[in-house]
């Protein structure tokens, strides 16, 4: 299919076109750029919810219930479930949609699994583009699910407007894990599996950590309790997400939008500049020589980079 045709299909909400479009942004950077250029003017309408937390917290089950509640409220939903690529084999097992399969035939729902591929640093550019595709396709709510502890969780703020951090009692030292960065990015905390007896302790642990933060803030992240299996608390979670969206629109919208635009521009420049320099070095057969010098400890990488930029290297 041609890019223009696919873009047209995406804008009409056609599922096959959306699926093809996401494949393009995953595989082919130059085509992706043309596609996103066409779709970009039609983006910016969806509310993007990032959902993250340790494995076993019940994120996928919770999302399934959230989708049902959004559908009940007349909203269309797109989901991007991100799972890690194995650094050893390059393969990935994408099992998040198992819990959402009943919804796969719902016309107002689109679910796509994505692997992180060679993006150990966080959310892949392809994921951000996939969000834009679902946005342009007219989805009201887009949920981006990420797993694991570390950078990719923190990176979700670059994509999402409302970040929901999900926890559950009995996962071990989960509070320690969230102190390292997750506390700062959460707009809403959810303690899932709240029917378990030690759920209140998890809530109190979270409260204790949150209280360490004395800075006055216009939005204090609330802690909600859910039982994803039964759907308990899910409606309140959606209300809270909506409240946060209203808060953002009233208080911080302009600032956030500008910050996001700036981050995206910087990343785009970095990508373009890097690949154009590397391509040029490869074309001129200089890359190997430079690498050899670095390997031989004649030149350090930062100095090499500077010399390349100043065109001082032969």
């Amino acid at each position: 299919m041609l890019i223009d045709e696919i873009a047209k299909g995406v804008l009409a909400g056609d599922k096959r076109s959306i699926a093809k479009a996401i494949t393009i942004v995953e595989n082919s950077p130059s085509e992706a750029q043309r596609l996103i250029a066409i779709l970009y003017p039609h983006t910016g309408k969806a509310h993007i919810v990032g959902l993250t937390g340790p494995g076993g917290a019940g994120k996928s089950t919770l999302i399934e219930k959230m989708i049902r509640e959004y559908r009940r409220r007349g909203k269309t939903v797109g989901v991007i479930a991100v799972d890690p690529t194995s650094p050893f084999t390059g393969g990935a097992f994408l099992g998040d949609r198992i819990r959402m399969q009943e919804l796969s035939t719902d016309e107002g729902v689109f679910i796509r699994s994505m692997a992180t591929r060679n993006n150990p640093g966080g959310i892949a550019k392809a994921t951000k583009d996939a969000v834009k595709i679902l946005d342009a396709a007219g989805k009201d709510i887009i949920i981006v699910e990420t797993v694991g502890a570390g950078q990719s969780e923190v990176d979700i703020v670059k994509v999402a407007q409302t970040v929901v951090v999900v926890h559950a009692p009995g996962l071990g030292d989960e509070i320690q894990a969230i102190k390292a960065g997750l506390m700062e990015i959460a707009d809403i905390f959810v303690v899932n599996k709240a029917d378990r007896e030690n759920a209140n302790k998890t809530v109190m642990d979270l409260q204790a950590v949150l209280q360490l933060d004395n800075e006055p803030k216009p939005w204090r992240p609330p802690i909600l309790k859910t039982v994803a299996l039964t759907g308990e608390g899910v409606s309140q979670l959606l209300d809270k997400i909506e409240e946060h969206e209203h808060f953002l629109r009233k208080e911080l919208w302009q600032k956030r939008i500008w910050e996001k635009a700036q981050i995206e521009l910087i990343e785009a420049i970095r990508d373009k500049v890097t690949s154009s320099i590397i391509e040029k070095l490869k074309r001129e057969k200089k890359l190997e020589k430079i690498l050899q010098k670095i390997v031989d400890r004649e030149l350090d990488p930062a100095t090499a980079a500077e010399k390349i930029l100043n065109q001082e290297l032969e």
Binding site: R16, A19, I22, I98, Q101, I278
Partner: protein, 140 residues
């Protein structure tokens, strides 16, 4: 660094369990073998309707579908899946099957477009090799 600006097209595979049986050890072993061979494997979980499987294949834009069935309902479920794939225009997807499928049913299944059937005890290497060699080459 060799990945800068370019990326390799990964083979995306849907491993699906149509029908009502509740054993998916075989499906999971195959899923894992394909993942270890560098593919992106989406697993549907148990008890999927043909509609769910085809819709998932469409949304995930997979190159390959592996159907695992132990219940004996393959002669009703597989034709329905193949019909829906055609309806949705997913004609370039490679479909193979595995599980308990009697020898005498295989010709009929191949006629409707199931490209290969793997019985119990098939070494995973054989399935991996088959998928690597037969997954459709698509430009994007």
């Amino acid at each position: 660094m060799q990945d800068e600006g370019t990326s390799v097209r990964k083979i995306r595979v849907l491993i699906a369990k149509p029908g009502l049986d509740s054993h998916d050890r075989g499906a999971k072993i195959v899923a894992r073998a394909l993942r270890d061979a560098g593919m992106e494997v989406i697993y549907t979980g148990l008890r999927q309707t043909p509609e769910q499987i085809v819709e998932t294949a469409l949304q995930e834009d997979v190159d390959v579908i592996g159907l695992s069935i132990l219940s004996g309902a393959h002669m009703t479920l597989f034709p329905r899946i193949m019909e829906l794939l055609r309806e949705k225009g997913l004609t370039d997807v490679l479909v193979f099957a595995g599980g308990i499928i009697p020898e005498e049913d295989i010709p009929e299944l191949k006629k409707i477009g199931i490209k290969e059937v793997f019985g119990p005890g098939t070494p995973t290497e054989k399935i991996v090799k088959y998928v690597l060699e037969n997954a459709p080459k698509r430009e994007s």
